[in-house]
């Protein structure tokens, strides 16, 4: 029960969930959250690999921390852009925004 594969499966599950969400959700916030899911899947991977495989115990954790930090920044930027969009479109439904094509 406490083997590497469990974690990998979970993380893969998370990742696919996130990807699915990004592809399927029309709500920008929802998409943002799904992306966070994917990042966290990566984090889980790092931690798991770190715990089970590598001799040096730090690298994975550091990376995970970095990813978290960047994810936070990402969320902030994302939200600000979404906000700007909302001001113009009065909606955060991405289906409303498909002018550019071809």
């Amino acid at each position: 029960m406490n083997s590497l594969n469990t974690y990998l499966i979970i993380s893969a599950f998370l990742f696919s969930l996130g990807l699915l969400g990004v592809l399927q959700r029309r709500n920008l916030i929802g998409m943002l959250i799904s992306v966070e899911l994917m990042l966290n899947a990566a984090n889980l991977n790092f931690m798991a690999f770190n715990r089970f495989l590598t001799p040096d115990p730090v690298v994975g954790q550091i990376i995970a921390l970095f990813v978290m930090g960047l994810a936070a920044a990402e969320a902030a930027i994302g939200l600000s852009i979404i906000l700007a969009l909302f001001r113009k479109m009065h909606s955060i439904n991405i289906e409303r925004a498909q002018k550019l094509k071809g």
């Binding site: 994917m38 990566a42 690999f49 001799p55 990376i63 960047l70 930027i77 994302g78 969009l85």
Partner: protein, 473 residues
């Protein structure tokens, strides 16, 4: 102290970024002043980078490698930044109150990319990519009073973060398979484990993050919208500087993992063919020049990849040469566009009508730039294509080269359409003559000379690139 010298170029841009951070704090808007400052700082940055061009060494626990290769690309990045900053003297596309932020973000992004071309460790790469991407997200969404392009920012953001999520997941798998994040070690261990699915998936997802930066099919989808939707200067920046970084990164990555399986080569061949064909075909039907150039940039990503995928010293050298030529020619086109669309609107092809009367010099620059992109001698673009194809044929990829040439012919069509507009079409309404200040005149002459000189006398530069490519192994 020596380490500090190694880091000097980046440091100069950190300074520049800080300066504009300070400017951005107080709410005064003085575009001319900012432009002056920005130009000076960027110029200093360029000088410093050139001065540091022959530095060599490792930094930050060997995460950060300074060698001829990285320095060449840093020079190119600085050059692109200087040019873009130079062309931002009338930054109509962006609210005057945000000019400080604009320059701030440009410098931060340049800094990030400079780190990117030197990074030889996955986490460093990841961080640098994210840093540059974030500033680009903001730059793109900065465009003012352009309601039809409002969706650009969010699209770029969403696609970008998804791509980076894929990449980081891939990195995690690579880490899991190879137990390391240093590319040097990675390249040693990867060939042994390349048969494991995890390794494959990891490698490909990581690459897809890079390809996203290079706008290679099928990770190109942000490019057309962003090129069209962003302010002209921002587009110019993305099209020139950020392309350089992406190319450098991919060259470095494949250069290290050159021992990878032939399947990888097959994949890259496929991608480059798709990229060239898709970009050129779709560009045919475009009306908006920036969007057209976006598609052409997708195609050119394919050409650069041809040089890379031959995975020989000559191949990487040709890719570097090609990237340089592309930077120059592409900037030449964008400079003309920014000049003509002084008020920062999006230029349609038909608006070029009668340009040869309104400003012969700009028309000539545009024509040479476009011919260069099309790969017509004696411009640098041709020599670049020639070198790239030569490298590919050295490995015997005849079919790939033929497809590349056919694509070049197709691309000539839409470039000719633009040139036709500039030289033949009678303007529907009388446009005013384009005001060309002295510096722009000098710059365009310099660009013309540069394009032709590099095309006719490539010898020194080619040997330089080859020296740079040698440092990769």
């Amino acid at each position: 102290m020596n380490d500090f010298l190694l880091f000097l170029p980046e440091f100069s841009f950190i300074i520049a970024a800080l300066v504009f951070f300070v400017f951005s704090l107080k709410k005064t808007s003085a575009p001319a002043l900012f432009h002056g400052w920005a130009l000076t700082l960027a110029g200093i940055g360029l000088v410093v980078t050139v001065a540091a061009s022959h530095q060599e060494g490792m930094l930050f626990f060997d995460c950060y490698r300074v060698d001829l290769f990285s320095q060449i690309f840093k020079i190119l990045l600085a050059l692109g930044t200087v040019w873009v900053v130079f062309s931002s003297n009338e930054l109509k596309g962006i609210d005057p109150r945000q000019h400080a932020e604009f320059y701030f973000l440009v410098f931060v992004c340049t800094l990030a990319m400079m780190m990117l071309v030197s990074a030889v460790e996955l986490l460093t790469i990841y961080v640098s990519i994210e840093l540059s991407s974030y500033s680009l997200y903001l730059l793109v969404s900065m465009r003012r009073n352009a309601d039809q392009y409002v969706e650009t920012g969010i699209k770029y953001f969403m696609i970008g973060v998804t791509a980076s999520a894929l990449m980081v997941f891939g990195i995690s798998l690579l880490f899991g398979v190879t137990h390391t994040t240093y590319m040097a070690k990675l390249s040693e261990t990867l060939p042994n484990v390349i048969r494991q699915p995890a390794a494959v998936i990891g490698l490909l997802l990581t690459l897809s993050g890079f390809f996203f930066k290079l706008a290679l099919f099928p990770f190109h989808i942000w490019a057309p919208d962003v090129y069209q939707g962003a302010a002209n200067q921002v587009t110019a920046y993305i099209a020139t500087a950020s392309k350089m970084a992406a190319a450098a990164m991919i060259i470095r990555f494949t250069g290290l993992s050159s021992a990878a399986s032939p399947d990888l080569v097959k994949l890259l061949i496929g991608l480059s063919i798709l990229s060239m064909s898709f970009g050129n075909l779709v560009a045919i039907i475009q009306k908006d020049i920036k969007r057209l150039l976006a598609y052409s940039s997708i195609a050119h990503a394919g050409y650069i990849l041809i040089g890379i995928l031959s995975m020989t010293g000559r191949g990487y050298a040709s890719a570097i040469y090609y990237a340089t030529a592309y930077l120059i020619m592409n900037y030449a086109c964008f400079m003309v566009i920014m000049k003509i669309a002084g008020d920062g609107h999006n230029l349609q092809i038909k608006e070029l009508a009668g340009l040869h009367k309104r400003s012969p010099l700009l028309a000539l620059t545009l024509m040479l730039g476009l011919f260069g992109l099309a790969g017509i001698p004696p411009t640098a673009g041709f020599t670049g294509k020639f070198l790239v194809f030569a490298a590919a044929l050295e490995k015997g990829y005849l079919f790939l080269v033929i497809i590349g040439m056919i694509n070049a012919t197709i691309s000539l069509y839409y470039y000719l359409v633009v040139i036709k507009a500039a030289y033949l079409l009678k303007p529907v309404r009388e446009y005013a003559a384009v005001p060309v200040d002295t510096w722009t005149r000098y710059l365009s002459i310099a660009l013309i000379v540069l394009m032709i000189y590099l095309g006719i006398f490539p010898d020194q530069f080619v040997s330089l690139t080859e020296a740079a490519a040698r440092t990769l192994f």
